[in-house]
């Protein structure tokens, strides 16, 4: 860092005056000051959302001499109120890994060679045109993620759906949030949580459903712990399949056998009804009852298709359905004692207790992911504990803009920025805003993520452009999809910031601008849109993903649809996109407001954010004159669903006798391509491992650090054992974090998915173990 003598004197002058002010005016703060000084030189502070998880913590990034040198929590951001987790505090170091991609590369004669980025963009445009001409419009695809900024996802959808006429647009949020979406849509007819993080400050009971919040959402978890310490009437219950840091901090840990959360949720409803804890007024006014298809399959075969069909049922039908789920019967299925089931039911059923349920991947990465989302909503709806401060069924997200980009912009095959491709009105709206003929937008969805990579393997898709994600680590049953991507006549473009196993299969690599090297917006778990300015220059020829798509679109002849200059394109895109959500149910804040604030919650109506939806005290979209208005469904009611327990796609048997569960650790985010470049985080957890129960380890004859071979019907992997580490699985289960590309655990996992959401289950498949 450069610091000249003059600069030093100015720092001393400012520091001296600030110290004097501190003595004269007790409690005075200069924390919001954009030009803070310290003894290492001038630091310019600017706001941004954190780059990593879906919590959406606000951070202040300190820049000196054009380099990010410091991070602190943004005290003005209500999400984290000045706190960060370890990943947030070290986030800027992820910008400066020594192997950052700074030049475009193209495969020539089997070798990747550097080329000017404009040449690479020419090649991409030419290849898209050639592929479409030869193989049809649905032979090209784009695959992004919940790490796409909102403008990234918007221009991707506009180019591929609006201009190129293919619905081959997907994102890796399909792998983490799709069941949450279908859960919301089937229960409420509208996506995203009704509550907000402020629920944490009001609830008396927190139940984490298969959700290790202590590691995955640590800032929110610490807020729960702070509430428990400050208030005397707060209880935390961890309901999970393995013991974690969350279990250790909880007041009570309840373990269930994988997949049986379905049965337990139904048993809780059974108890609520049996004991007269139903909020009858709420049910009569605001709820209708339905059932769907059963025995719905697992999607392990190509071209699997399923469409659910809702049939209305009565409350009595629902009550009869629950007869199969008495606590005693469910104890035998789930391993959860009838007493514990009754205990949870009593908490939900007590009208004097406010209950917030949190969940994330445990419920979403589930072959009945939509169902278990429905079932937890059932509990909250039966008791009327919803849409009021502290009473909140709350689906958390794993990626910084899974909500903002994938769910709100609609970067999934069936979706549009407003509505779905199957709906004529929604297509007309998109065509008008995008300035394309409505006939361009195909009314038929094509491939969800798993099927998209199957199509690439089969050759139905010949060209795929992958941005901001790493599917060659994250796809389940990975070997098939990596082999598919490497086939002779497939063309793979990858935009990323570091080399990954996905860039290894690329024909063209584009260096991408990362995070605050570009302007953009993310949308977090609580409907909060967070703008960030370009604070840093991207290295070398790195370019924002949005601008990469614009460059290619123009080369393909769509200058009219992508007319913006580099100085104003984000603002222009935002204001165009905002038109899709006009109206009280989803109104988004104008660009100028986003620019000023540390996030704004939608619906943003008449200058006011909406904290609790469906409640007229807070939500301007409510119009029925009643205490609540569930306006997402045509019958203006929330739907309770009769959904049965059905087993997992693959369960342990005599040969493959262990459950395999996969997930994350606090130090690393997702596939580790960024956090493994941060020395402090990498050194803390330098490699992955397999967690074993101590008695299973003893039976196998392995001790900590010894190598264990994990074998499934898809593949095998050998990795070090961890026994009595931070997580302890139950007997008969192993757990493997997936952040380490040296140990590709997804070569072992199964590509079974929820037939409604099409989201794969990374938490359950059968494996056997050998001492290596």
């Amino acid at each position: 860092m450069k610091l000249n003598r003059r600069h030093f004197i100015k720092c001393a002058a400012a520091g001296s005056a600030i110290a004097t002010a501190g003595a004269l005016f007790p409690g005075i703060s200069f924390g919001n000051w954009q030009k803070l000084q310290n003894n290492s030189g001038m630091i310019d502070w600017q706001k941004a959302p954190c780059r990593f998880c879906g919590t959406g913590c606000g951070v202040l990034i300190g820049v000196s001499d054009g380099r990010a040198v410091a991070v602190k929590g943004d005290p003005n951001c209500s999400v984290n109120k000045g706190l960060c987790c370890m990943k947030g505090y070290h986030s800027v170091q992820a910008l400066y890994g020594s192997d950052r991609l700074t030049k475009a590369q193209v495969r020539k004669n089997g070798t990747m060679v550097d080329v000017p980025i404009q040449e690479a963009l020419d090649i991409i445009a030419k290849k898209i045109k050639e592929t479409r001409d030869k193989h049809g419009k649905d032979s090209v695809a784009i695959y992004g993620s919940g790490q796409w900024t909102i403008p990234d996802g918007y221009v991707a959808s506009k180019l591929f759906k609006g201009c190129l006429g293919t619905n081959n647009v997907e994102a890796n949020a399909r792998l983490c949030m799709a069941s949450a979406v279908t859960g919301f849509m089937t229960s409420f007819g509208i996506d995203e949580p009704m509550g907000c993080y402020e629920d944490i400050d009001h609830a008396n009971v927190f139940i984490t459903w298969g959700n290790n919040m202590a590691e995955m959402h640590p800032v929110l978890f610490s807020r729960m712990l702070a509430n428990r310490k400050r208030r005397t009437n707060v209880t935390i219950i961890d309901f999970a399949t393995r013991l974690t840091r969350t279990s250790q901090a909880a007041d009570k840990s309840i373990l269930f056998k994988p997949q049986t959360d379905l049965a337990v949720a139904n048993a809780i409803c059974h108890e609520i009804i049996k004991n007269g804890w139903v909020n009858s007024n709420f049910i009569n006014e605001h709820v209708s009852f339905h059932k769907g298809k059963t025995n719905i399959g697992y999607g392990t075969e190509d071209h699997f298709a399923f469409t659910d069909k809702a049939e209305p049922i009565s409350f009595d039908d629902f009550k009869l359905f629950l007869d199969d789920y008495t606590p005693e019967k469910v104890e035998r299925i789930s391993g959860v004692s009838a007493q514990d089931i009754k205990y949870m039911a009593a908490l939900y059923g007590d009208p004097s207790v406010k209950v917030t349920s949190f969940w994330c991947m445990g419920m979403n990465q589930h072959t009945r992911g939509t169902w278990i989302n429905n079932l937890v909503y059932n509990i909250h709806l039966l008791t009327g504990k919803i849409s009021t401060p502290g009473n909140s069924p709350f689906s958390l997200t794993g990626q910084p803009s899974a909500c903002g980009t994938v769910r709100e912009v609609g970067t999934l095959t069936h979706a549009l920025p407003h509505g779905v491709v199957m709906n004529e009105h929604d297509r007309q709206m998109a065509a008008e805003i995008w300035d394309v003929p409505v006939s361009n937008i195909d009314p038929k969805p094509t491939y969800h993520t798993v099927e998209m990579f199957r199509a690439l393997d089969r050759g139905d898709i010949k060209f795929i452009w992958i941005q901001v994600t790493n599917p060659m680590v994250t796809m389940p049953n990975l070997k098939r999809y990596r082999d598919g991507a490497l086939k002779e006549d497939r063309f793979v473009v990858v935009s990323d910031v570091y080399p990954t196993p996905t860039t290894d299969v690329a024909d063209v690599i584009l260096p991408a601008a990362m995070w605050v090297e570009q302007e953009g917006m993310f949308g977090n778990s609580e409907r909060r849109t967070q703008h960030f300015a370009q604070i840093l220059e991207p290295p070398g020829e790195a370019m924002s993903d949005t601008w990469q798509i614009i460059e290619v679109a123009r080369r393909l002849g769509f200058e009219k649809q992508f007319p913006w200059s580099q100085e104003e394109y984000i603002e222009k895109i935002w204001e165009e996109y905002r038109r899709f959500h006009a109206g009280p149910k989803h109104e988004m804040a104008p660009y100028t407001v986003l620019n000023e604030r540390s996030g704004v919650q939608w619906p943003f109506v008449n200058g006011k954010e909406t904290r609790w939806r469906f409640n007229p005290k807070y939500d301007p979209a409510c119009s029925n004159g009643k205490e609540f208005h569930f306006y997402g469904k045509k019958d203006n009611r929330a739907w309770i669903w009769a959904r049965p327990y059905e087993p997992a796609a693959e369960s342990p048997d005599n040969e493959y006798n262990f459950w395999l569960n996969t997930g994350r650790v606090i130090e690393h985010w997702h596939t580790g391509s960024m956090t493994r470049r941060v020395p402090v985080l990498h050194n803390a957890v330098p490699s992955s491992y397999v967690e074993l129960h101590p008695e299973d380890a003893a039976d196998l004859g392995v001790v900590n650090g010894e190598m264990v071979k994990i074998i499934s019907r898809r593949g095998e992997i050998t990795m070090p054992a961890q026994i009595n580490g931070r997580g302890v699985p139950v007997r008969g289960m192993v757990f493997v974090p997936f952040f380490d590309e040296s140990y590709l655990i997804n070569e072992v996992t199964l590509d079974a998915f929820c037939p409604i959401s099409k989201q794969p289950d990374y938490k359950k498949c059968a494996v056997k173990l050998e001492k290596a």
Binding site: R6, I9, S16, A17, I18, A21, G27, I28, S29, W33
Partner: protein, 81 residues
């Protein structure tokens, strides 16, 4: 080449205006407090005459209630010593 820092107090309700007035002057850097009507001002002028002119201009600002010196440094004085 004097460097000074001051604590500036705005007239009632005029903090934002004072920040704008001071930031509009050459050689001035403004550091407003988050939670009180107090501003730290750092000036970095090229010579004594410019410094005097600046101080005169500052004292004429309608939004300024009071200005207290917190730190002063001048290269010239240092060389003379």
């Amino acid at each position: 080449m004097p460097v000074f820092s001051y604590i500036a107090i705005p007239k009632s309700g005029a903090k934002k205006e004072l920040c704008s007035d001071l930031a509009a002057l050459s050689f001035c850097e403004v550091i407003p407090a988050d939670n009180q009507d107090v501003i730290v001002l750092v000036t970095d002028t090229p010579d004594e005459n410019t410094e005097k002119e600046l101080q005169k201009t500052m004292k004429e600002l309608q939004s300024l209630q009071a200005l207290s010196l917190a730190f002063g440094y001048d290269d010239k004085e240092k060389i003379g010593n």
